[in-house]
Symmetry: C2
Subunit: 227 residues, 2 copies
Amino acid sequence: MPETDTASPTAPKAEGRVARRQRRNRAALIAAARAIMAEKGVDAATMLEIAERADVGAGTVYNYFKSKDELALAVLESLMQELAMRIETVTDTFEDPAQVYAFGIRTVLDTATTDPRWQQMLPRSEVIADALFRCMGPFAIRDLTNAVAAGRFRATDPALVWRLSCHAIIGVSLAITEGRQSADSKVPIIARLLAMAGIEGDGAEELAARPLPDLPSIQALPVGSAP
Amino acid sequence: MPETDTASPTAPKAEGRVARRQRRNRAALIAAARAIMAEKGVDAATMLEIAERADVGAGTVYNYFKSKDELALAVLESLMQELAMRIETVTDTFEDPAQVYAFGIRTVLDTATTDPRWQQMLPRSEVIADALFRCMGPFAIRDLTNAVAAGRFRATDPALVWRLSCHAIIGVSLAITEGRQSADSKVPIIARLLAMAGIEGDGAEELAARPLPDLPSIQALPVGSAP
DNA sequence: CTCAAAGTTGACGAATATTCATTTTCTTGC
DNA sequence: GCAAGAAAATGAATATTCGTCAACTTTGAG
């Protein structure tokens, strides 16, 4: 009769012992890193301290995360996961889309910028992109769709399109909150997106300026967790 | 009346003291690295040991070389510098270009492959590219010229063309000496070159196969030391 | 020209991130 | 159960970074 799972050295179950240990280690590492990074800042947190707090060897961390940056990003994701839920819950009651947008950005930045390193990583966060995307979605997606329709992307890889749109939205958001642009100016999302895709010059400008046909927005794109 | 330069604390001369010290450090580092790497292999040579032998601090090495790899490459260059002269001197007396070629490759590989890391770096060596280029020059340059004429490169940057041709020659040389291709089979230099330029598929194949107009070889390209 | 202050550049090495050969833990096939 | 093999953990060894300091250069006033 197997108890919880503390002392049964021969019970692989559906999920083997290795898988379980790995999940524990990964979670412990993120938790340890989150605590230490929150306390001392991302840069001052050392990999050794994190490993010790998570009760694994120094080298083991690198079986789970390629680098300190990747670990920090995982921590950011974990922070954002919670935040995203809260944002959605609250903004559910809002009526003005502009307010939804403003609230989301404000909240994210207030939280994420505890440490400058995290702000820097923000554009790479899948979770926060996801959350913001749910607020901004239809608007941004229409612009992206038009860019694809204009023929600059081969939209064969939905994951790429998805990722690009997330990055574009985050980028624009940051630009706005940094005060470089006012929120109601017409932000050239397409140009930004093209730039992020590495397409610059070579007709990108004209393309971005081309008037947009009024395609219907694509609600059907995968909005769930990252691929 | 300034003596040699041992005890004159206020004589900057044409070349300042800093510049002199830097040259000494750089040379000492390469010499130390060359000795240690030759003795124990590139991988087993530690940066600390090299720094100590060169009589500088551990971190100082990184003021001169971005990484251990770059230092190893500098050592390879220094090895090849000597080798290149010897090759040229000897092959001066050869009459058959094929012999020149064979001798050059053979000699380079015999020396450079002391350590596998160096063989791996060979294609990045400017000096050996230069040396081999002088042997193979006219032949390889003609092929390159045709590739340019075929319109795949904008040949606006001579340095790029030069670099590419060096890489192509080294790459082909290695392929031959590694026994993957016999020396007298028609090696697809252009295809290799295009691949190294990052141009693959997308018409590169057809281009490589296109029959070559018999352009005159360009002897006037800069063959001196790397730009 | 001489000197001192301010500014620049490079050296330093302790601190830290990352790698890698070895050891431990788990899985698989009998 | 057990042995062979695979996967993961380990931490000592190593590469690399970074704040600090010293050497040198420049500036400007006497």
